[in-house]
């Protein structure tokens, strides 16, 4: 018996989702699927951490990355605004004073 369930939402005529809208949709659906299955290795890690006294929170958010040559910065936050704000701060940290002696 095929247990695959498919959700179909017809788009209004002329609507063309932007790539980031599709990315958001995909992320959301992956998160829902994760809640109901997928890899379970995390549970073991989480249990051990809780046994060691850690209080855990899992949230879905934005990861933004900036790369230029060897330089790489990454920031994560619940909103894209916050994530980019942090990314900018990280980039700016080194922008003017990278080699100051």
């Amino acid at each position: 018996m095929d247990t695959t369930r498919v959700i179909e939402v017809p788009l209004p005529e002329g609507m063309a989702p932007a790539p980031e809208e599709l990315e958001s949709l995909g992320t959301l659906l992956r998160a829902v699927v994760e809640l109901h299955g997928g890899g379970r290795a995390w549970e073991k890690v989480a249990r051990r951490l809780e046994e060691e006294g850690w209080t855990l929170h899992t949230r879905v958010g934005w990861i933004v990355e900036a790369r230029r040559g060897r330089d790489f910065e990454q920031a994560a936050a619940l909103s894209r605004d916050e994530a980019f704000h942090e990314l900018q701060s990280l980039v700016q940290l080194d922008a003017d004073s990278r080699g100051v002696l």
């Binding site: 942090e86 990280l90 940290l93 003017d96 080699g99 100051v100």
Partner: protein, 414 residues
């Protein structure tokens, strides 16, 4: 495994650095540090005696006979090394004595030694702040502060260099944070300008923020009695954390410290990883540093001479027609704007017997290449006159005397 492929990758990276003109080469000095030094450069060339205008030996104490003698006595009395971190069996009475002397000199509540100021800056933020806090740094702070901020969970943010309006905006923006720390150098090492600590402290008090200052390029000579930038700006006792170094004016060997509010220093003693997991300054340097504090505590003669040397040098270069960064510290940048020009001028000055270094991107911003000259109390008038004569000859050769940024860039490019 360091395979042939891995080796090739690193060799390629190094070639890339060299091709970009960014390879750093050390010059061998075959004499004690001082106003006159003997240098072998390039490697294999005959040793040449040159006037040193690029060290941080601001007070001329790096090879001072009394400092050397005190260090030797310290070596005899307390040995060479401690073979332990501070909190196991690596603290001698003289470490505490030096911390007390630094506290008195800086006008703070307590002090903790670190192996270097680089280590102090790397450890202090993580020890004091957490994810609920924010660090707001001037955009030209020293690289060690940037590294320290990256090691800390508090939110990093920056304000435009010395822009108090922008700092105020940032302080307003971060009122929701548990703690705010304003972070700055006292004297900025590449431009030589002095932080507006008086305005910064006023803002910090208005917006309930702490103030952190790295005073490495100021301790010992900035301010009427050389206490540092906080003395110069009239805010002694109102700076929460000062980090500084023993590796520049205070004898120039190595070592640094965190000095400030008692509780903050104690937190560093409990939590700062470079303090906890590394040996501290060796006895020989502690003994030398104690003598340095004796010398600069008994008279302001050396910082006064440095101030006079700086005035003389700045006036001389200005009269010759060089384009200088405005400032009042013994860091006097001669602006050349073009990276190749900065290197060529430095090379020709070396041929004239003047040791200076050209700085260009990425050490300074693109199009702001320069030669950073640094004065010392060890310089006598004849050193400065010889330096000015050499600068005049080399400046004339390149046709840059009396020229400003626009004209230099028109001739040589940015």
């Amino acid at each position: 495994m360091f395979s042939a492929g891995v080796r090739e990758r690193y060799q390629q990276d190094l070639r890339g650095i060299e091709e970009a003109g960014l390879l750093k080469r050390e010059r061998l000095i075959e004499s004690p540090q001082g106003a006159d030094i003997c240098v072998e450069f390039p490697p294999g060339a005959p040793v040449k005696r040159v006037i040193n205008l690029c060290s941080n030996n601001y007070l001329g104490l790096s090879s001072h006979p009394e400092v050397v003698a005190a260090a030797r006595e310290g070596l005899d009395a307390r040995g060479y090394g401690m073979s332990s971190v501070r909190f196991i069996c690596g603290t001698q009475d003289i470490h505490h004595r030096l911390e007390e002397r630094l506290t008195t000199f800086l006008g703070t509540e307590d002090t903790l030694l670190f192996p270097s100021c680089m280590d102090a800056n790397a450890g202090v933020f993580e020890a004091l702040l957490g994810e609920a806090d924010v660090m707001i740094a001037d955009r030209l702070v020293h690289a060690s502060i940037v590294d320290g901020m990256r090691l800390c969970r508090a939110q990093p943010d920056t304000f435009k260099h010395s822009d108090m309006g922008h700092l105020e905006e940032k302080l307003q923006e971060h009122q929701d944070k548990r703690a705010r720390v304003v972070i700055t150098d006292g004297v900025f090492s590449m431009d030589g300008d002095v932080a507006k600590l008086d305005e910064m402290v006023a803002l910090a008090e208005r917006y309930d923020a702490m103030v952190f200052v790295d005073d490495s390029h100021a301790t010992g000579f900035i301010g009427r009695t050389g206490r540092g930038t906080h003395e110069h700006r009239g805010v002694v006792g109102r700076i929460d954390v000062i980090t500084t170094t023993l590796g520049k004016a205070l004898g120039g060997a190595s070592g640094g410290c965190v000095s400030g509010r008692r509780e903050l220093v104690e937190m560093c003693r409990q939590r700062a990883r470079p303090y906890l997991f590394s040996n501290t300054v060796p006895p020989v340097i502690v003994a030398g540093a104690l003598k340095v504090l004796d010398l600069i505590g008994s008279t302001t003669e050396r910082r006064d001479k440095l101030e006079e040397n700086t005035r003389y040098w700045r006036r001389g270069l200005t009269e010759l027609g060089f384009d200088l960064k405005e400032g009042e510290s013994p860091i006097v940048p001669v602006m050349l704007y073009n990276a190749k020009l900065a290197q060529d001028v430095a090379r020709d000055l070396y041929a004239e017997g003047i040791y200076v270094v050209g700085f260009f991107f990425p050490v300074v911003a693109k199009g702001l290449a320069r030669i950073r000259t640094q004065l010392s109390a060890a310089h006598e008038r004849h050193h400065l006159d010889a330096g000015l004569e050499a600068f005049a000859r080399v400046g004339a050769k390149y046709g840059i005397l009396g020229k400003g940024r626009k004209e230099i860039v028109e001739t040589y490019g940015a």
